[in-house]
């Protein structure tokens, strides 16, 4: 009896390094496929910051944070110098056509004219266009690149941030799922 239990102990101790090794392999393997540049936003769960920025089309007019309240919506940070923004633009047009409200935040663009020209030629998916020339509003949102897309609920609280382009795969994934949950759209309806 005593021999059996001590034998078992020996096996357990012998297997311990193997177990530790497998754990380490799993951990490192995950690290290989995770993207260290994808940071979760520090603002998730917090209300949108206060701001006041000009309208991209008419700089005499100003928008403030109240434009982001009242309905679940996306806040898309973009610029004409950003190639990935161009890649996602067509998909944003599609989402807008489906009725998804998107507010555009033009982030430190080369010029106002370039930004307006972009929207005129590629289409304007945005319900409002904010012109953040010096990046001060983006800084309030913790933006560190473009494109970034924030999901904001009807009360104006930031629910999620997606870094990188929005496409069909992303919209099927967490960003889209969270939006549909907020907007009260069942997943089946979108299939």
């Amino acid at each position: 009896m005593n021999d059996v239990t001590s034998n078992r102990w020996r096996w357990a101790i012998l297997l311990l390094p193997l177990l530790a090794f497998l754990l380490l392999v799993g951990f490192l393997l995950r690290g290989l496929f995770s993207d260290p540049t994808e940071l979760s936003s520090a603002l998730v769960g917090k209300p949108v910051p206060q701001f006041s920025v000009p309208n991209l089309y008419n700089t005499d007019e100003r928008y403030d944070e109240s434009i982001l309240r009242g309905q679940p919506l996306l806040l898309n940070v973009w610029a004409t110098w950003c190639p990935t923004c161009r890649a996602e633009h067509e998909y944003l047009n599609e989402l807008a056509a489906q009725g998804v409200p998107i507010v555009g935040l033009n982030y430190k663009d080369d010029s106002l004219a370039k930004a307006v020209d972009w929207l005129n030629t590629l289409g304007d998916p945005y319900i409002a266009n904010l012109f953040d020339a010096d990046g001060a509003v983006a800084l309030e949102f913790g933006v560190y690149g473009a494109p970034e897309t924030f999901l904001i609920d009807a009360e104006g609280n930031i629910q999620y941030r997606h870094v990188g382009d929005v496409n069909e795969r992303v919209w099927r994934g967490e960003l889209g799922q969270r939006y549909r949950a907020l907007a009260g759209i069942t997943e089946e309806a979108t299939q």
């Binding site: 260290p36 940071l39 979760s40 520090a42 430190k108 990046g135 800084l139 309030e140 560190y144 690149g145």
Partner: protein, 166 residues
């Protein structure tokens, strides 16, 4: 002896190399920072300390002092404005962490997510010490005692050895 000298030299070189590298850093920073002028030297010192401690979220593994990415410039400008307007070190750090997360500060706070960074090395040392103590004790306990028969065998072997030596 030669080996010991060589090993000592190697260790010394490894210790000195990083400090040489660090010593070369201020020169890199200086060319970035000429545009930031302060009237109060204490504020300038605080500014330099902060931009060395704040991490650029875009170009990871660089402080906002070292990086020339646009975002780093923006954050540097903001730090400059805040320090010049009399903000304390903690106020600037809190401002950045509220927007960019703990990631933006090179000295992470202690919480559940970062506890492994703080306690991991100590845990490894403690576990190692336990294993060594355990193994040494085990070895002492298993010192063999010989049976009478084996004692006799040993005695004859010793006697034989003495004979052959003589």
């Amino acid at each position: 002896m030669k080996q010991i000298i060589r090993a000592t030299f190697f260790v010394a070189a490894m210790l000195v190399a990083p400090s040489l590298w660090l010593a070369s850093m201020p020169a890199v920073q200086a060319q970035n920072l000429q545009e930031y002028q302060f009237e109060d030297p204490a504020q300038e010192a605080l500014f330099r300390e902060l931009i060395g401690e704040l991490r650029c979220p875009k170009c990871q593994n660089q402080s906002i002092a070292d990086s020339n990415a646009e975002l780093a410039v923006d954050l540097r400008d903001r730090t400059y404005m805040m320090v010049r307007d009399g903000a304390t070190k903690q106020q600037v750090i809190d401002f950045m962490v509220a927007r960019y997360g703990d990631f933006v500060h090179y000295q992470p706070p202690m919480n559940i997510a970062t506890s492994i960074l703080w306690w991991g090395p100590i845990a490894v040392l403690v576990i190692g010490a336990f294993v060594i103590v355990f193994r040494v004790k085990q070895q002492r306990q298993t010192e063999v005692s010989l049976s009478d028969e084996e004692q006799a065998q040993l005695a004859t072997l010793r006697a034989e050895k003495k004979d052959t030596d003589a």
